[in-house]
Symmetry: C6
Subunit: 268 residues, 6 copies
Amino acid sequence: MAGAALSTDEGPKVPYYRPIHREVEVFDHAFRNQLALMIKGPTGCGKSRFVEAMAATVERPLVTVACHDDTSATDLLGRYLVQGGDTVWQDGPLTRAVRQGAILYLDEIVEAREDVVVVLHSLTDHRRQIFLDRLNETLTAPPEFMLAISFNPGYQRGFKELKPSTRQRFVGLSFQYPEPAVEAEIVAQESGVEPAMARRLVTFVTKARNLEEFGLNATASTRLLAHAGRLIRTGMPARLACRVGVIEPLTDDADIRAALQDTADLIL
Amino acid sequence: MAGAALSTDEGPKVPYYRPIHREVEVFDHAFRNQLALMIKGPTGCGKSRFVEAMAATVERPLVTVACHDDTSATDLLGRYLVQGGDTVWQDGPLTRAVRQGAILYLDEIVEAREDVVVVLHSLTDHRRQIFLDRLNETLTAPPEFMLAISFNPGYQRGFKELKPSTRQRFVGLSFQYPEPAVEAEIVAQESGVEPAMARRLVTFVTKARNLEEFGLNATASTRLLAHAGRLIRTGMPARLACRVGVIEPLTDDADIRAALQDTADLIL
Amino acid sequence: MAGAALSTDEGPKVPYYRPIHREVEVFDHAFRNQLALMIKGPTGCGKSRFVEAMAATVERPLVTVACHDDTSATDLLGRYLVQGGDTVWQDGPLTRAVRQGAILYLDEIVEAREDVVVVLHSLTDHRRQIFLDRLNETLTAPPEFMLAISFNPGYQRGFKELKPSTRQRFVGLSFQYPEPAVEAEIVAQESGVEPAMARRLVTFVTKARNLEEFGLNATASTRLLAHAGRLIRTGMPARLACRVGVIEPLTDDADIRAALQDTADLIL
Amino acid sequence: MAGAALSTDEGPKVPYYRPIHREVEVFDHAFRNQLALMIKGPTGCGKSRFVEAMAATVERPLVTVACHDDTSATDLLGRYLVQGGDTVWQDGPLTRAVRQGAILYLDEIVEAREDVVVVLHSLTDHRRQIFLDRLNETLTAPPEFMLAISFNPGYQRGFKELKPSTRQRFVGLSFQYPEPAVEAEIVAQESGVEPAMARRLVTFVTKARNLEEFGLNATASTRLLAHAGRLIRTGMPARLACRVGVIEPLTDDADIRAALQDTADLIL
Amino acid sequence: MAGAALSTDEGPKVPYYRPIHREVEVFDHAFRNQLALMIKGPTGCGKSRFVEAMAATVERPLVTVACHDDTSATDLLGRYLVQGGDTVWQDGPLTRAVRQGAILYLDEIVEAREDVVVVLHSLTDHRRQIFLDRLNETLTAPPEFMLAISFNPGYQRGFKELKPSTRQRFVGLSFQYPEPAVEAEIVAQESGVEPAMARRLVTFVTKARNLEEFGLNATASTRLLAHAGRLIRTGMPARLACRVGVIEPLTDDADIRAALQDTADLIL
Amino acid sequence: MAGAALSTDEGPKVPYYRPIHREVEVFDHAFRNQLALMIKGPTGCGKSRFVEAMAATVERPLVTVACHDDTSATDLLGRYLVQGGDTVWQDGPLTRAVRQGAILYLDEIVEAREDVVVVLHSLTDHRRQIFLDRLNETLTAPPEFMLAISFNPGYQRGFKELKPSTRQRFVGLSFQYPEPAVEAEIVAQESGVEPAMARRLVTFVTKARNLEEFGLNATASTRLLAHAGRLIRTGMPARLACRVGVIEPLTDDADIRAALQDTADLIL
């Protein structure tokens, strides 16, 4: 698998994924060593899509959980539900993933409540177990089960963080936005615009990302370019598509929006 | 649809809406591309009415949720209710909207709890899915389903904000109060006052909006002018209507109210 | 109705209310236009009594809710109660008021939880609806339904406030304490003391209200004067009645109480 | 009743109470006028005992609630209890007191949650009603029902306070510790020590109360003297009784305790 | 009983307790006068053991509750439990203690929630009652019931405190660590080490307690010495026993531990 | 047992553990004296593995609980569960451990809620008991039951701490990372890499740990080296293995990662 492009003829289940550096090789080794994987990177840089592609490649089901600040251990492990008078146990996504030997992907893990993180501890050391106290049952993960987590280290840095005792249970990968040529290839593929237009969109966003004096608390993601591309493909003028597809989602500041629009108007 | 006035003869279901700029065109492209829409703008500038008009135009039902700081994912997705001894599942508004292929409008989304926002993630990327864990059911949105959200970026700016990873899932539109002539047209239409009186009310509110030294934390909305117009139409003196319909709702500060009343007395 | 004194011979249901300015006229127009009403004013100035009188005048039942910081939307809308094994839906006061076409009066609305305020939104725009999610039922208010809210803008100003997007859904009225002659008339009526004693009580309280250097966080209400009046009518010496009926309820500060008692002793 | 000593021969139900000033007269007028009473004063100065004595005098049952920061409206009004499979409504103390026409005494009302305070509003104006939403029942208080509340204005002043809109519904009384001769009489009566020893205990505590430089956040109550008296009566040396009965309960500061013990040793 | 050593031949139920000052006499008088007792003192100085010994001496059962910041009135009073389909009332420890006429000992009372403290009010004045609202039952404590509470005034002083209105319901006792000779006697008795070794351990800990510059937020308790003694008795070298039995539990600061170990090495 | 290497031929149940100093001797004495054990040390230094090895050596089952900030006494003691209509009591891990005479290991105890800590009090003094209030049952721990707790004193020092009254109930042990030769032995054993590579990995991490100016809030654990070793054993280049196995898990700071990578590149 290592290094090969993942968008092959293997059928509809492997989504388009364009490898950037050595992330496929790292996933492959972590998977073979039954080590958990921690993926860091800015919003919309392709972390989720990478995990989707890897799960398809190793032919394991993918279970994704988008964590938020009320995500609790119970949400992940399961609970008894009262349904029509009967009390029925329902596996949570983590339990389901362990039983199936799936890839479990916890997106934005730093948002979750701390009891979620602690549940992962026995799953990420030599035990590879979870204890379902409500069922009084200990589940051991099969070799093909893998845990992957992700977060954006540049967002609210220092506020919410994984504790060292959690971090040091993972192999780590840092994602960045791809090089312009690669990004243009992705935008064209995902939106259907002409390669020339995709390159112009990337030229615009690259300029925008470099304007650090803007004081934006986020940079424009590849996803935004794909949105603009799709609007252009259905006939929207490129400058308007850039405004509503990229600039408005990026910021509410009128001055920054004007500056970005000027930049867009020059290039498009 | 693009550019045409929406208040047509198509029947009573399409409400009065006066397009201001290119917002109809943007909605149209977003709808066709199955992209979610984020509408920003001050209070009472017509965001909700715009969505209502668009839903009528594309002939989809509209499901509106006014978010507040206890709005949770469960509120949107649904819950089991105990009714007369039986336990019955009840779809929340989001689930209902997805099943019906409706336009789902989340007003003041920034007020909602963060678990609401996270639920929207899988609905606003290529998956277009929600997972109902209580039913163990995954729903995929039909092509005609569309999500629209709104918020007022000028209110408590910087306090409560959508995370970049959420914002960058939307196409964005900024609303402003309309030009005086357009606003007078709207006021006359909504309140039934004479055009001349509507213009005088707009003259008053335009002056008030420009008096930035007032330190008001809000500007007078078009809705307030329509209220004043309705009071005038039933016979209330214009100056009193301006006081109770516009000035009192705007502020509790006695000095500012006096200054605004002076301005109103001059014009009306 | 407009302008006429409300304490007529129509029977025992119309309580004594002495109009101060043009508040009756404003209520009348708001009611006829199906606009909601926001009443601002200090404690004990007659806001609640005004609403009571207006409800009697327009011959609608009055439903009053004193809001506090745990008042929730569920409290207003209704809930399922388990009663004797059965689960029974019980309308909350808001739902009851909408069904009956009553005047719904939310006293001290700024204290309520924010979900209460949001429920009012669909009720105070052109929709005039509430959605009872537990019953999956949408109720449209009949024309005779009216919502009135009140708060004291001088108490903890700036701390808890209605959002502009809520305020701008209401017609506004500011109440103040009445002129001395009017206030004496009210005190005599409500307590049964002689007009001369009522005037002396008002003279005292007017002086007290003007002593702004006292740093009181409230001013003496007309209600306090009526209390003192009632104590005097049953034989309590006027100075003692002033102390326990007006001064002690006003403040715990020993120095201010002494100064107020001196003032009272001079006048009474 | 007014002015007479309350510790009469009427039987064992009227507890010992020694009137200090005109509080009995004020209670009497408030009771006859159906006005609620607010009693302020330091800890252990006899507020609760006063209410007990007044309730016995007017021959009404007394219902006492010691409020704390989790006391809620439900605690006072009542709730449905599940008992042996059945659901039974149980009146709370406030409801019970209204039904019985009792004296309801809410001790340390400022500690209670705000929903408690709001429940009192309709009970303390001309309506004299409470609404039991769970029973959908409105109770009107009989004329013999009376509400009395108490708090200590010197403790944490400015932190937790009744709102003016609540305070101005009550007639107010301020309690202080009694004059030395009266206090000695009370101590002798309550503890059984000889009058001479009671006077010496009061001499000690009067000195201690005047030592304001101690920075104590409370002053020694009459109750503490009665405790010391009881310990002396069973044979404990007076200085030790003063230490464990008065000084240790007053403060944990070693220096202040030593100074107070020196004072006690001189006098006793 | 007064003054006599409590470790008598009365059988196994009276635990070893070595009186330090006059605490036995104070307990005796408080018990006879039906007054509640407040015991203050640092951790591990023998407060709990004193209460245990006193309960055995007066031949009453002892009910101990270690309070924490979630201890609520319900925890102390009792609750309905659903057990096997039936709803069964279960007395809490306070209720049980009142019914049995036991000694109720609330350890670290300042940690408990405020509703716990308020429940104690009616139990600690002339009423000696608790009201079980769920059972609608008032319990009066028998004469042999006694309440004792304890806290450590030196720990987080000023942060969490009993209110004066609570403190002044108790007779107070201050505990300190015993004199060296007495402490050595206790250590030898509790651990089984030779008296000479017990004296050396006390010499060490006395030095450590005097080293105030260490900035420790606690001093070494007699309990720690007993632990070290037990480790020595089973053969652990004295210096290692001092490190793991006394120094490590005392602090995590490496420098302070080194200084304390040096002190220990010199003495042992 | 004392001093001997624990990785013997006794069967598969005794895990690999390499004693560092005298910790085995301390455990042995604490176990024989029925004293509880407190283990302090940085993340990934082998605390959990030590307890696992000790439990196997004394042939007692091990019950491990990873504490987090919602871990409550109920979680540890047990609860009634509704299962298929029946209500069934389920022992929590603490209760189970006491019944079995197991070793109970509470990892990261300082994270748990305070009610957990209080439950441990009666278990860690001469009583060795827990009271199950829901079952109205007192359990006395058998002699072979032992409690061990752990925490990392270097993480968020001063923020969350055990109270002195809790700490002083334990015998204490401080763990550090092992000496380089010992650590290399452990890494080789756990990962399967050649001893030479293990030594180079330890050389790298020792340098990294000494670079205090990095301002890292954690140091690299032995576990991270074992991860890197495993990746190398399956063919990943050593420098990449060091990056994804050690450096990325350690920090998100780009500059520190670059410096650490430079160090790794020099050594590997």
